[in-house]
């Protein structure tokens, strides 16, 4: 920590009264503020004091604005609406083929758009999104043009043929796919169909170089981004900032012919069997839950995957495979329902990726209550049977 050194001579010279033959100093006058202002630790502590508790409790997380001797900061400019960026005449196109299950972009798809934006912005290009079914607006995600694929149902071969036609006719510098079940399959089909150079599972991407792991993750392969790139999850940040126009464009795709797949049927996952890292909805118990039979019945009734905090796993009440947190499983779930969990930092790291958290805890100041979208300050032991009774009552008639 470097603080400017005090110069006593300069400090004295600041008090000098101008004019007069003899040097005169007014030491009582307040000096001009210089350097770092002084803090008032007592005032900060007074403000951090949580009122209405028996024990003296300080909330240093700065939820209350701390008044200090510092001059108030200039009011920030109001958050402007995202600027619309129109690319009328793109130099080239970077295509994105998001999975978009049900028309909704996944986090991985958004990262794909971020990567495409980076490649396109390098040389004045535009991002073209291929979508199988109409869904959410792709403008905020970073798409300049949107092209609908003439595919109905699950038919990756017809999709690959349509993409191959677009690849041959349009000036696509790169085509990006997510490294997921469907995206990876489609990318490899297109690579085999078109014979274009293909880069599987890219772990880092920039306009100059793209890298991937090979030879059993012992070697990193690196090259200039080829035409077909398959991007691993969490490699590139999603696009943020500017809004793009997502202009629908037309293209004459060839007529699709019947494929070898006769029927396709989606089977949702069985939450009781699915592993915690893959689960979509996790119901988790902590130290505030002692009746684990009711907890298990509730998990089964809610159709969730059971989880637990470190406390319960250490006590042997739940299997170690159910432990959520930094030393257990880091969840990828959409919704997390925490019963009687205060939320240690290690546990919160485990639920960092969850979009929605519901918490039931007796402590109003628990970190989990603060993290939750719906926080209920109550005893989980009493809420569990009530919720179970409500679910059973609704199922009976």
């Amino acid at each position: 920590m470097s603080r400017p050194r005090k110069d006593p001579r300069a400090a004295r010279a600041a008090h000098r009264i101008a004019g007069g033959a003899r040097p005169r100093f007014d030491l009582a006058a307040a000096p001009a503020p210089a350097g770092r202002p002084r803090r008032d630790p007592r005032a900060e502590e007074r403000l951090a004091l949580v009122p209405g508790t028996l024990r003296r409790r300080l909330d240093r997380a700065q939820r209350v604005a701390v008044a200090s001797a510092m001059p108030p900061a200039l009011p920030e400019a109001p958050e402007a609406a995202p600027r619309l960026r129109v690319i009328a005449e793109p130099a080239f196109l970077v295509a994105v083929v998001p999975d978009a299950p049900g028309g909704r972009l996944s986090a991985h798809d958004r990262q794909l758009f971020g990567a495409a934006r980076m490649l396109a912005d390098e040389g004045g290009g535009a991002v073209l999104a291929f979508v199988a079914q109409p869904g959410e607006d792709l403008g905020p995600a970073g798409a300049d043009r949107v092209l609908a694929l003439p595919v109905s149902g699950h038919d990756p071969e017809a999709k690959a043929l349509a993409l191959n036609a677009a690849l041959a006719a349009l000036d696509l510098r790169h085509v990006l796919f997510p490294e997921s079940t469907d995206g990876g399959d489609l990318a490899r089909r297109l690579a085999a169909l078109s014979g274009e150079p293909f880069f599987a599972g890219a772990e880092s991407l920039s306009p100059k170089a793209v890298t991937r792991a090979a030879r059993g993750r012992r070697v990193e392969q690196r090259r200039v981004p080829p035409r077909l790139v398959n991007l691993a999850p969490d490699a590139v940040a999603p696009h943020a900032g500017t809004l793009h126009e997502a202009l629908p464009v037309a293209f004459a795709f060839p007529q699709p012919s019947g494929g070898a797949v006769l029927s396709a049927e989606f089977i949702p996952a069985d939450p009781a069997k699915v592993s915690l890292a893959e689960a979509d909805f996790v119901v988790s118990a902590g130290n505030g839950v002692s009746d684990l039979d009711t907890f298990r019945a509730l998990v089964a009734a809610l159709n969730g995957t059971p989880g637990a905090s470190r406390m319960l796993c250490d006590a042997g009440l739940m299997p170690r495979s159910a432990q959520v947190g930094a030393s257990g499983t880091v969840l990828d779930a959409r919704v997390y329902f925490a019963l009687g969990i205060a939320g240690a930092p290690q546990h919160l790291q485990g639920v960092a990726k969850c979009e929605q958290v519901i918490a039931v805890n007796t402590d109003l100041h628990a970190a989990m209550i603060e993290r939750a979208g719906l926080a209920i300050v109550a005893d989980a032991q009493k809420v569990m049977p009530a919720l179970l009774a409500l679910l059973q009552q609704e199922r009976q008639p």
Partner: protein, 258 residues
Amino acid sequence: MKIAVLLSAGRHPVSGRPAPVPVELQAIRLAVEIGRQFGGDVTGLHAGPELGPLTDALGHGLARLVHLHNEGESDPAPSLAAALAEGAYDLILAGRAGQGGEDSGLLPYTLARTLGLPIIADAAALALGEAPGTLGVEQALARGARRRLLVRLPALVTVHPAAPAPLPFAFAAARRGSSEARPGRHAPAPSPTVEERPYRPRPKLIAKAAAGSTALERLRAATEAASGGGRLLVDPAPEEAAREILAHLRALGLVTAR
């Protein structure tokens, strides 16, 4: 019914020694079980300079192994395509990606293209369809979901690690199995277009913490929800709390209304 399983020269991810690829051993299990139910023979195919530890595949349930002998660095695709076309297999199984080579998972797709076969990716289970000449494939999707597909045979199917574990190694089966060497078609390996370096794990995106922010802000970014602004109910009656939770879960589309 003739079934072929493609075997690649893998390397153990930790020791780096030559080893069979686990997902290909899982493919052998799927093939053996389909063959046992419906009377078919299963052949393993490998194209490369030597078999090495792939003879272990015989111990994992494979009855016959065909080695298409290629000298040195050569492209295995033409040898395999020729052997598969000659054998007229009904079902060809392969792993979803190798382990120890290029590991891009592209070879089954180029083979399917060359042979003119439909390809189905990421099978976790196989069953013969009701109509003759069809195969039911259970495809593994993200989050433990599955997709059941009905495919017309012949087809090429790649196997996902979510398939049942390989059959345990049996020494007697390994002795009983036969391996046969045939000359492969030599094709020069495509010239490398990539630069190779020792692997360096890349940092993954976790949460967006602004650069230069304080430790407290970084911890918050790592632990707090992006949504925020949650609803707080202090000391509600248990019944009221239950109603609120159920309504919230319904709004998220998790518990179906009845």
